[in-house]
């Protein structure tokens, strides 16, 4: 019998064929959760040059290695003091279940760090669970009110998000439950498409006045962050600084979302690695490096990711997707429910459906009950603790007693792309791609 060889087009791959036929059925763009799936240069493409003879290492797990992090030193009375340089990113009640939001708050509190609200307002249980809570001011202003504003420990004006810079949020009708609709002043069950622009200001000059408004409303007590999706990073960071931001939160294209057009996730924005490097340069050129803090997010998964981000100049990192995975996202349990979604554990990105098999990205009470708050809290807290230990281990190995003393000289690149984007020498050479 003649052997049959299956050939595959590089242009029309099986995935592309599926995507075309799905669009043909739906008559609209495809929607999914998570961030970019494509391969991009990332922190994995960098390695540390730890101590040997030129530098002396500190004893792992024994000698002190400070992790304290202060955000918002520039102009407010009460900067945020964190015990660790890792925060929890903004994720809405609506996108996430009540249990997930409470667990994130409690875990952050156990580690002495902050968590962040999201596009849907401040959940009372979330405020109660979080010792330090950052209150997002988004284009939609769903649930935004001065009473909750005064309860916040910091304000984050969201200009963009790494998964969809230039686009607004999506929350499909399955997740717009009576509680979510009530908080957002929306009709129940509506396919909510959030605006991409703020209703009350448009450009950076207006943003300056908006920041002053929020400062006046909070008596200049708490820091104001500006969150940017990574696109024209240098200009955007400088404009946010000029507008008066205390902290820049920069989200690269690996950053997740509960729902957006997949075209945004794959074709919009730049990766976290070059975004971070450009943001640090922008702060230096603006003469505010050290005064305005930088929080980087988008695909941060491990202690090495955190340590490399700090070495490149970030003051802290922010975790979204990874914190959800820590509490059970994509865990191989309730397999039949993954199958109903047409997926498998480790491959699920169906947050937009509201049918999350593990009770994280859902508003369904039965599914949410699968996520016990205590267990989720411990898992996220353990994960954060593990990341801190990993960062401290790398820091001590570099001969440093404070994670914020990690520096660019501690790193080299493993690929030409990473060398060019991070502006670091290729390992074993003095060659920096592009310079």
């Amino acid at each position: 019998m003649e052997k049959r060889v299956l050939t595959t087009s590089d242009t029309f791959t099986p995935e592309i064929i599926d995507a075309i036929q799905e669009r043909a059925e739906l008559g609209r763009y495809l929607i999914r959760g998570y961030g970019a799936f494509r391969s991009v240069p990332r922190f994995d493409d960098l390695v540390f040059l730890t101590a040997s003879l030129t530098r002396v290492p500190l004893e792992g797990d024994r000698e002190p290695c400070a992790t304290k992090t202060i955000l918002g030193k520039r102009s407010c009375k009460r900067p945020i003091e964190l015990d660790i340089p890792i925060t929890i990113a903004g994720m809405s009640f609506g996108a996430l279940s009540r249990n997930a939001k409470i667990a994130l708050g409690r875990a952050a509190t156990l580690l002495g760090t902050s968590t962040t609200t999201g596009d849907g307002g401040m959940l009372p249980e979330e405020r109660e669970a979080s010792s330090k809570l950052v209150y997002q001011c988004l284009p939609s202003r769903y649930g935004f009110n001065p009473t909750d504003l005064r309860k916040a420990d910091a304000i984050e004006i969201v200009v963009g998000q790494g998964a969809k810079p230039g686009g607004g949020g999506l929350l499909l009708g399955q997740k717009v439950s009576p509680a979510v609709a009530g908080m957002r002043t929306l009709p129940e069950g509506v396919d909510q498409r959030s605006p991409s622009r703020h209703p009350d200001w448009i450009g950076p000059d207006d943003l300056k006045i908006k920041i002053e408004e929020l400062r006046e409303a909070t008596d200049w007590q708490i820091p104001i962050y500006v969150k940017l999706g990574a696109t024209r990073v240098k200009d955007d960071v400088k404009l946010a600084v000029k507008a008066g931001a205390d902290v820049i939160v920069l989200d690269g294209m690996e950053g997740g979302t509960a729902a957006t057009q997949s075209i945004f996730q794959e074709h919009v924005g730049i990766p976290t690695l070059p975004a971070l490097v450009q943001a640090v340069e922008a702060l230096q050129e603006a003469g505010v490096y050290g005064q305005v803090q930088l929080v980087i997010s988008g695909g941060i998964r491990s202690g090495p990711d955190v340590a490399k981000a700090l070495a490149l100049g970030a003051d802290a990192v922010s975790l979204g997707t990874a914190s959800l995975i820590a509490m059970g996202c994509n865990k191989p349990i309730y397999l039949e429910d993954y199958h109903k979604l047409g997926t498998e554990p480790h491959h699920c990105h169906h947050c937009h459906t509201g049918l999350c098999p593990v009770g994280i990205a859902t508003q369904d009470d039965e599914l949410m009950a699968r996520l016990p708050v205590e267990q989720a809290t411990i898992h996220v807290a353990n994960y954060l603790q593990a990341l801190v230990m990993e960062v401290q281990s790398l820091t001590r190995a570099c001969g440093k007693s404070n994670v914020h003393n990690l520096e660019r000289e501690d790193l080299v690149a493993l690929s030409l792309e990473a060398s060019a984007m991070a502006k670091l020498p290729l390992a074993g050479t003095d060659f920096i791609a592009g310079q």
Partner: protein
Amino acid sequence: MNNEQTLTRSAILDCASLSTREINQQLRALAAAGVERVQVLNPAGRHNLAVGLSTPIEIHFCGPVGYYCGGLGDGVQIEVAGGCGWSVGENLMAGQLVIRGNASANAAASAHGGKIYVLGDAGPRAGISLKGATLIVTGNVGYGSAFMMQQGRLIICGNAGAGLADSIYDGEIFVAGRVHSLGADAQFGLITDEDRLLLNQELLPLGLEARDYDFKKIVCAQEFHHFKTRNFPNGKTRTNNQRHLHTRDH
């Protein structure tokens, strides 16, 4: 009421040599001290005046104000003798603002409650993202007004610019004059007797009578409430079943 009581219940605040910070701090202090009315002299178009106030007080600005006047307010009565800049009454929760002049862009942006009167024209995007407040404009409003309005009421005694109520979710809009064009998902609705009664109640405090105007009502057509699949062969559209749609997306 004797003179002494009158003095303690009202105050005059001259802003000529004060910063925005100092003005707002003094307004807060006066409200906290139980002062009921304060006359603010020389506001000089400053931005961010009387923002974030939540202790009841009546504030009368003797002159124009800048951006965000009365923004993030909750239960305060504000009157401006003059025009105002962008986003007057932004995110108002309760209370009242009366602008005796024109308002620039984004009047009452994202306001959740209370009433905002513009006794003149309002610029573009009036009532944008409105979430439950009532905005009454005795003159005209600019383009993009009531964009993505969610709840509340917008009453326009004059004309409305292009794209009125684009992408509205809910709420109601009444326009007495010409509507340049409606935005996506907005449609004219039937005016009921209840609407006429309501319009009369809203306009009477301004010395206006609804019967003197030919109000048209604009509401959400709800075509955008759910993603739709086009059925090209017969030109009809259908709404996807909410429970099982989108699950195959990737």
